[in-house]
């Protein structure tokens, strides 16, 4: 009896604005099984970023239910949410969001610090993940010394270091050229083949095409939910 990794029902979120409450999400229902590779698409203002924040346990819904690996997120404390973000979810951002003062190894190891892992295993696992994204040689460098594409690889290594079940990527290729974007997407595809569930937000059709399922948002609602036609992904 397998439950979906992510199950949302009637999910709503409204923001208070000067002109009264603004509903960013208006009752979204979606299930994502473990091992899926889902692209969330939509124009800006469609509610896809709000949806991602809710999925990432960075925000709490105004209405509706969200179950992540069976946990009812609405009833978790701040500390429990932090633990989910630390151990179940890995984040990849558009702006890479590495800490500029730290070496790449320390950046990758940071989630392990919050998980309470000792220094030696921390270093070891960080090196391992850096090797997985092909940057083991740069472990001691600072983020400013490497290219954008490499920084995003480090960010992915950081997302992977705590062996999460789910990777949430918010416009991960938005700041990259098309060649580098393709490399990053190939990396995601590889991770997905290794069994990690990936949900990525994008507004570029060719990026979304790398995923196996495409969910399209418009005005706070899901307007389409289709499997990507089979094709060879580079």
């Amino acid at each position: 009896m397998s439950q979906p990794l992510i199950r949302v029902a009637g999910l709503g979120k409204s923001y208070r604005t000067a002109a009264g409450p603004f509903p960013a999400l208006r009752g979204v229902a979606l299930s994502i099984e473990a091992g899926e590779f889902v692209a969330i698409m939509g124009q800006s203002g469609s509610g896809k970023s709000t949806f991602m924040n809710l999925l990432g346990c960075l925000d709490t819904p105004s209405s509706g239910d969200y179950f992540l690996v069976g946990h009812d997120v609405a009833h978790l404390t701040q500390d429990q949410l932090a633990k989910l973000r630390n151990q179940t979810i890995g984040f990849v951002f558009q702006g890479f969001n590495l800490l500029p003062r730290m070496s790449l190894e320390d950046n990758v190891a940071l989630p392990l610090v919050y998980a309470g892992v000792e220094r030696q295993p921390r270093r070891q696992r960080a090196r391992q993940e850096l090797a997985r994204v092909g940057l083991a040689a740069y472990a001691e460098s600072l983020p400013s010394r490497i290219s954008g594409g490499q920084q995003q690889r480090v960010a992915i290594a950081r997302a992977l270091v705590n062996s999460p079940q789910l990777i949430l990527a918010d416009e991960p290729t938005g700041n990259l050229d098309s060649h580098t974007s393709a490399e990053i997407m190939a990396l995601f595809a590889q991770l997905n083949r290794d069994g990690i569930t990936i949900v990525l937000v994008t507004h570029e059709a060719d990026i979304a095409a790398c995923a196996r399922r495409q969910v399209r948002f418009l005005d706070g609602l899901i307007v389409s939910d289709l499997a990507t036609p089979a094709r060879v992904v580079g």
Partner: protein, 406 residues
Amino acid sequence: MFKAMLGEAWYAMGANRLRTALTMLGMVIGVGSVVLMMAIGQGAQYAVAQTISTMGSNLYILISGSTSAGGLRSGGGGGPSLTVADAEAIAELDGVSNVAPVHQGTQQLVHGPNNWSATVVGTTPAYLDARAWTIASGHAFSDSDVRSATRVALIGQTAADNLFGVDDPLGKTIRIRQSPFVIIGVLGKKGQNLDGRDQDDTVIVPLTTAQRKVFGTPFPGSVRLVMVQASSAEAMPAVEAGMIALLRQRHRLRGGQDNDFYVRNLAAAADSAAETTRVMSVLLGAIASVSLLVGGIGIMNIMLVSVTERTREIGIRMAIGARQKDILAQFLLEALMISIAGCLIGLVLGIASALVINAINDMVIVISGASVLVAFGVAAGIGVFFGFYPARRAAALDPIEALRHQ
């Protein structure tokens, strides 16, 4: 985890060295001035305590009552109410360690062509013990000198310098009121008393000799002053009560009658002097504490700036799993490190400047371990107190807002 956070706090401090150094400077000045001011204050207290101890400790002075002749009242000590027998009786009381009847006045001293006016004290050997007065050379006179009224004298250093210059006064003769006195001892140096009077400008002679040859009292058995020393500070109240009761009984005073003598307590004068310096050192400490407070506010200010600057970093940390208390601890640790580092440097500078002051003039400086500990504790407290609000603000940030922050 803690070690990792310590390392991060260290990096954060190093990220903006000038700013960290300036923030620390506030603490350095604060702690340094507290340590220095406390050292000066405690030094002053120590100096006063030294002066007080030269006057003799736990002393009472009994002064005979005044007389009235033809409407003219003498001051205290004018009447013949206290006697040597009274003094001997008081010496028998519990808790009394020394009793010395005293007859003193200013007299002209003559030695060869030199003459000098000094205080002449006629008393018994117990006086030297009560005043804790040492003999620098020669020896003191004895009770038998007092009984037989020998003409011997002990001379203080100031009087000796003025009469004899560089010569050794031992064995020489001085004349007081035409009577020759042989100097058998030179008193140790005491310096000024609390009134600023030179205690070394003194000659001490046997009481009986003083009364017969120097002051010529019409009441040979009576004295103006009796110095009474209690064995300890705790014994003083009992000694005072016992001695008053004894004297009233001996003088046959009835219930309603006033005492025909006065009791002065030297401890009261000493206490007020000690209190003055204590107030001074508290005042110095309070002024210095203000600079410590300003240093603390400086830390708070910089930590608030730091939280604002690092909002995005805080958002990233939260997204990858930092709990609110992790963020709180991180910023608190940074504030604590700045204040403790500042405190250590301040301690070193404060102690160094106290030692320099001590070296270039004779001011007494006392650095106590307690004041150092207090300064350190206060600095740590300031780090936590002024670091808490910025850290709390960082921890309470909304992760989404923080991530969006540019």
